[in-house]
């Protein structure tokens, strides 16, 4: 098996790479690339994302053929993809960070700023928060409900179809923090920074 972590020059992905290497212990080939031919040949793809929704979408669009390749991989070939943080957010149709920006449209919905209730809640939502698992998801195999995960974000994904939501977390409201739609998986939190529990989620994705 080989897994590709998409490197589209948007934010820091070394922690994602380190965590996948830690979990696989060299038994699985981890490729970090933006080469669309390598992505096509992968068994699984990881789409990280840091910075703003717009900068990440721009980053994808700046690489010729990348979005088409990802669409093909996810929508037609239906191989597993894991989006992390803004990687998940980009599943949406549209995002409102910086300016209105079109997303990948894999899971219908929008990405809006978290309601800070007139300053009652600090943003970004930074730190360890508990996840409320509301739907069985294969990436949560062996993960206890109310486990702590590390978050850092100011925007939330609001999917139209609530059935895709696999976990929420409580900050200002019940924020969507994990989604699963067929072969598409996403976490708003950072499994790569969520200690052993986070590594277990990565392991579950690898073992899908």
């Amino acid at each position: 098996m080989n897994i590709t972590i998409v490197d589209y020059k948007s934010g820091n992905i070394s922690s994602v790479i380190n965590s996948f290497n830690e979990v696989t212990k060299d038994k699985v080939k981890i490729e970090v690339t933006s080469d669309i031919n390598k992505i096509k040949l992968s068994d699984k793809v990881v789409l990280p994302g840091q910075g703003s929704f717009k900068s990440c979408v721009d980053g994808l669009n700046n690489i010729n053929g990348l979005v088409d390749t990802l669409n093909e991989f996810v929508i037609n070939v239906k191989k597993p993809l894991l989006g992390i943080c803004v990687g998940l957010q980009m599943f949406a149709d549209i995002g409102y960070e910086e300016t209105e920006t079109k997303g990948l449209g894999w899971i219908s919905g929008k990405v809006s700023k978290i309601d800070n209730q007139n300053g009652k809640y600090k943003l970004p939502h930074i730190g360890w928060n508990q996840i409320n698992i509301i739907k069985e998801s294969s990436i949560f195999k062996g993960i206890e409900n109310n486990s702590h995960m590390y978050f850092v974000h100011s925007y939330e994904f609001i999917p139209k179809d609530k059935n895709v939501i696999s976990a929420t977390t409580d900050y200002s409201s019940n924020l969507v923090c994990a989604v699963e739609k067929e072969n598409i998986f996403g976490t708003q939190f950072h499994p790569e920074k969520s200690d052993k529990t986070g590594l277990n989620i990565i392991s579950n994705f690898i073992n899908l």
Binding site: G11, N12, S14, S15, N18, S19, N21, E22, Q50, G51, S52, S55, N116, G119, K122, L123, P124, H125, I126, G127, W128, N129, Q130, H148, Y150, F151, V152, H153, S154, D170, Y171, E192, K193, S194, D195, K196, G198, L199
Partner: protein, 251 residues
């Protein structure tokens, strides 16, 4: 519910851990990679490295330390000290740092904060503010506390938030190394003036000081060095104590 974070800080010089009293008189106490691993295994919510003499000396040792640590610790890693430019930030992030804290450069050239938060995202930009009481105000110091600036800490905090800082790491120069507790008034003033999380630092001598930093200082996270480093308390003991005082922590 979002938990308050406990962040052990390791002051690093030439690739070794040190912790000074009022920023001078340093003692050597260990390998940073091993220390960081002990902390993360013990439940630290994040790890912070401050390369304290980075402004003056060979700084490449820190990159090696960060790279090794990030392969062993899977909790967020913040690195600061001598961070001047976007290239410095980029290099630290590429070595595996999750956040970078900027101190002197943020004062000298606030554009660094604006540009870096735009380029790398606010989530990885922490502005470190070293403040000293002066009458009923606080003044910012730079260069590891050596240089006066005449800049008001509260005004500066607001400016950094506007510039795109994701968090503020606020150190009381008066308290740092004294073990008499955080400057609570400073922490709560800054916290109430910004909408981004504040990390309290400087002066922790016992576990009640951590409680005060959160309850009275309204800090989202508490940073401490000596109390953990010299084995006075473990991170686990600190968390259990905070929990017993009704503070939400990750246990």
């Amino acid at each position: 519910m979002l938990k308050n974070r406990i962040i052990p800080c390791l002051d690093v010089k030439n690739g070794r851990v040190v912790k000074g009293i009022n920023f001078v008189d340093l003692k050597d106490a260990g390998d940073p990679v091993e220390q960081a691993k002990i902390y993360s295994d013990g439940g630290a919510d994040e790890i912070c490295f401050l390369d304290i003499t980075a402004s003056n000396e060979n700084r490449d040792t820190i990159y090696d330390v960060v790279e090794k640590t990030s392969k062993k610790c899977f909790v967020p890693l913040t690195v600061g000290g001598g961070v001047r430019s976007l290239e410095d930030i980029n290099k630290l992030l590429n070595c595996g740092a999750d956040k970078v804290s900027i101190n002197t450069a943020a004062v000298k050239n606030p554009e660094v904060v604006k540009d870096s938060s735009k380029k790398f995202g606010s989530q990885c930009i922490v502005v470190a503010i070293d403040a000293k009481r002066s009458g009923n105000k606080w003044e910012i110091f730079t260069h590891g506390g050596r240089n006066k600036t005449g800049i008001d800490a509260i005004q500066f905090s607001k400016k950094m938030e506007e510039s795109g800082a994701g968090e503020l790491l606020v150190t009381s120069m008066d308290r740092d190394g004294t073990q008499v507790g955080y400057d609570i008034e400073l922490m709560s003033k800054i916290s109430s003036n910004v909408n981004i999380p504040v990390i309290a630092s400087g002066g922790v001598g016992n576990l009640d000081h951590l409680v005060d930093g959160i309850k009275l200082g309204n800090a989202s996270a508490v940073l401490a060095a000596s109390i953990f480093h010299y084995g006075k308390y473990s991170v686990k003991e600190a968390k259990e104590y905070l929990d017993s005082k009704g503070i939400p922590v990750r246990i």
